[in-house]
């Protein structure tokens, strides 16, 4: 009988067993482009996806596959594909599901690159998107049209920290026969597994908490295997005859794994956003400690929330675990272990105060990333959104005084001391 290992064990072991020849305990880095075929018959079978295996590292690689299998295990999916970045993952899903003339319903409160791809790039290829409030299930339902091929959102929105009511939206999607695709980067499978709430496809930026150390860019798509692709008119490139592999139907040949096999045969083969085996190794090293890190991330986050809420120079603090957050009840229901380790807060004194705070802290790093083991900060008003007026920022759901904080794993006393330095500088500025 197979053991049904638990999350912490899977984080360490899933996707790899020591190989019989070398006994290597760690996952080996297969730094190779290609694989020697036993004979022409095997080569043909691999090219034609008649049997599993590796033929060229643009399409698959044993080290990358170990990472993919670990992700499938942690999310409870059927299969996963790792790729060069979270945005590559997003692009692979959009191009797998949509063709010219198709439509997407997406959250209006998302990471800027996700919005850019759907708002500006995809329309050039005939795929349009209607952006709706992710907290308004009725608006999502109303926005679904006969040519809608996916509903997309972020479980925890970046940077606004809006929480999608995944079970409610999943029910709408199921009723309408549309897959629910979620970016689950901010929650990771440790805090919440979206397939258990009815989602169908998960996208990750592995660069963030899953990798967790700010050393490698990577992305992944995890396929829940729980969506019926049988409607040939709606999903002709999955359930109808496909040009790849001699005109097969991916749905008939691969069933629950159809989407992954299609993305591998078409997306990875034609676009080539492959993940390097060395980066896959780094990302797996990170995943090994994901449960430990996420517990500490959440512990530090909750302590910093109290610290910031009590501070005289903090105008406001936003986090879904606070009762004041508009999505607090949804967060409590679907993210019982915590709603992630990003906090946004406003400093008294506006744009200049925010800038001064950022420039005065020493331990926290000022950069454009989240999910590192180290504490990270950014002040959108003086960096990413410095070109926007106060009014334009408000329209984007941002404010001039807003600081985005990704809480790290340092000793909480040291983080607080560091922040006090920043606040002292702001205090001097205000005098």
């Amino acid at each position: 009988m197979s053991d049904n290992y638990k999350f912490d064990t899977l984080s360490l072991h899933a996707g790899h067993s020591p190989d019989k020849e070398t006994g290597s305990r760690a996952v080996p880095i297969y730094q190779t482009t290609s694989y020697v075929f036993k004979d022409t018959e095997e080569a043909a079978a691999l090219y034609n996806m008649e049997i599993g295996g590796h033929l060229y590292s643009r399409i698959s690689n044993p080290t990358v596959a170990a990472l993919e299998q670990r992700l499938a295990a942690l999310e409870g999916g059927v299969s996963a594909i790792a790729c060069s970045s979270g945005m590559a993952a997003m692009h692979l899903v959009v191009t797998a599901l949509c063709s010219s003339g198709d439509h997407i319903v997406a959250s209006s409160k998302m990471y800027g690159a996700n919005i850019n791809l759907l708002q500006h790039t995809m329309p050039r290829f005939g795929v349009t998107t209607e952006f709706v409030n992710p907290n308004d299930p009725d608006a999502i339902e109303k926005a679904i049209k006969p040519n809608t091929k996916m509903v997309f959102g972020e479980v925890i929105g970046n940077p606004g920290l809006d929480i999608m009511d995944v079970p409610t939206i999943a029910k709408i999607c199921k009723k309408k026969g549309i897959p629910l695709v979620l970016d689950a980067t901010f929650n990771t499978p440790f805090l919440m597994q979206p397939f258990n709430h009815g989602a169908n496809i998960i996208i990750h930026s592995l660069t963030k908490w899953l990798g967790g150390h700010g050393i490698a860019i990577g992305g992944a798509i995890v396929n829940g295997g729980n969506f019926d692709w049988g409607d040939k008119e709606k999903f002709p490139t999955i359930s109808g005859d496909h040009f790849a592999l001699g005109g097969i139907s991916f749905w008939e040949e691969f069933g629950p794994a159809a989407l992954t096999m299609k993305i591998r045969a078409e997306g990875m083969y034609n676009f080539g956003p492959s993940l390097s085996p060395t980066n896959a190794f780094y990302l797996m090293q990170g995943i090994e400690t994901l449960p430990l890190r996420m517990k500490k991330h959440m512990e530090n986050t909750h302590k910093l929330l109290s610290f910031l809420q009590d501070h005289d120079l903090v105008e406001w603090v936003k986090h879904p675990d606070l009762e004041t957050h508009p999505d607090h009840l949804v967060a409590k229901k679907i993210l019982p272990k915590g709603s992630g380790s990003v906090i946004v807060f406003g400093i008294k004194g506006g744009r200049k105060a925010g800038q001064t705070f950022i420039e005065s802290v020493q331990l926290a790093s000022h950069l454009a990333n989240v999910g590192d083991a180290k504490t990270l900060l950014i002040h959108p008003g003086s960096t990413t959104h410095s070109h926007l007026s106060a009014k334009a920022m408000k329209l984007s759901g941002l404010t001039e005084d807003m600081i985005r904080l990704s809480v790290g794993l340092e000793d909480i006393d040291d983080i607080k001391k560091d922040f006090e330095k920043g606040f002292r500088a702001v205090s001097k500025l205000m005098k």
Binding site: N4, G15, E50, G53, S79, I81, G225, E253, G255, A257
Partner: protein, 265 residues
């Protein structure tokens, strides 16, 4: 392909190729609560060689509509009628688990129909615990999970295997979840009730191949070996995996099948 058969929409996977009655047809029959996707790494592999392949979804399984057959005999009759409908005459039968019982019954009732039989994780009897039968009725999702966990060897638990990025547990559960929700209970009861396997095994006159699994908890190796002892001309192969050896050891299994087919022809 989909056909209307016995008044129900019926799916038959042909490995992405058309059926060619001039070739030897490999007829793959799935086990309890499974469907054609049990043979993902066999169907297209052999269809792209010199064989014609059919992998039907039995009634109520996978993409096939209709009411599941309630007995092994009824399953065997359904398959006999199907191969006649498709006008197949040069047939090698490959059954997995419950599909082995169906193969025994089919050969007993129509001894001239099959040229060869391959038993995959098979036995002449498959008794099923009443707890699992009840669970298949009361909480079929839990029953699926239990069978998928029991059914796989170490590769299942470790999430390793030859298809990159693939989870045996995830795939196994979702394959079962494609079926009519009453199907598993009906299949398990059909296995449990079937007592004609010993007689049917002793009547086999054609050469057979049996591929068993060392860590099979569904049809244990010990039971499989007793079954092989009943067969006159059976080649036995044993793989180091669990019950779902088509998925766990596809390359080795396909090599055994190929070798057997070459000898048969």
């Amino acid at each position: 392909m989909f056909i209307n058969f016995k008044g129900a929409k019926t799916y038959i996977n042909t490995g992405g190729k058309n059926i060619d009655v001039d070739k030897t047809t490999l007829c793959f029959i799935h086990g309890s609560g499974q469907n054609h996707l049990s043979f993902v790494q066999q169907s297209r592999y052999f269809a792209n060689k010199e064989y014609s392949v059919i992998v039907p979804d039995l009634p109520g399984h996978g993409f096939s509509e209709g009411v599941p057959c309630v007995s092994i005999k009824e399953n065997a009759e359904w398959i006999y009628d199907l191969v006649k409908e498709l006008k197949l005459n040069d047939i090698v039968y490959l059954g997995h688990s419950q599909g082995c019982l169906t193969g025994l019954e089919l050969n007993k009732n129509y001894p001239k129909l099959l040229k060869g039989i391959i038993f995959i994780a098979g036995s002449n009897t498959i008794p099923v615990n009443q707890f699992l039968i009840d669970l298949a009725s009361n909480d079929f999702h839990k029953a699926y999970r239990m069978m998928v966990t029991w059914g796989h060897g170490k590769d299942g638990a470790m999430f390793t295997g030859n298809i990159p990025g693939h989870s045996h547990f995830g795939e196994g559960f979702n394959i079962m979840n494609m079926n009519n929700e009453k199907t598993l209970k009906i299949d398990l009861e059909a296995c449990n009730k079937y007592d004609g396997g010993t007689d049917a095994a002793q009547k086999i006159k054609i050469p057979t191949l049996a591929v068993l699994a060392k860590f099979d908890q569904m049809t244990p190796l010990k039971s499989g070996k007793k079954f092989i002892d009943l067969l006159d001309n059976c080649e036995l192969k044993i793989l180091d995996c669990g019950h779902f050896l088509q998925a766990e050891r596809p390359k080795e299994l396909n090599t055994f099948i190929s070798s057997y087919l070459r000898k048969l022809n």
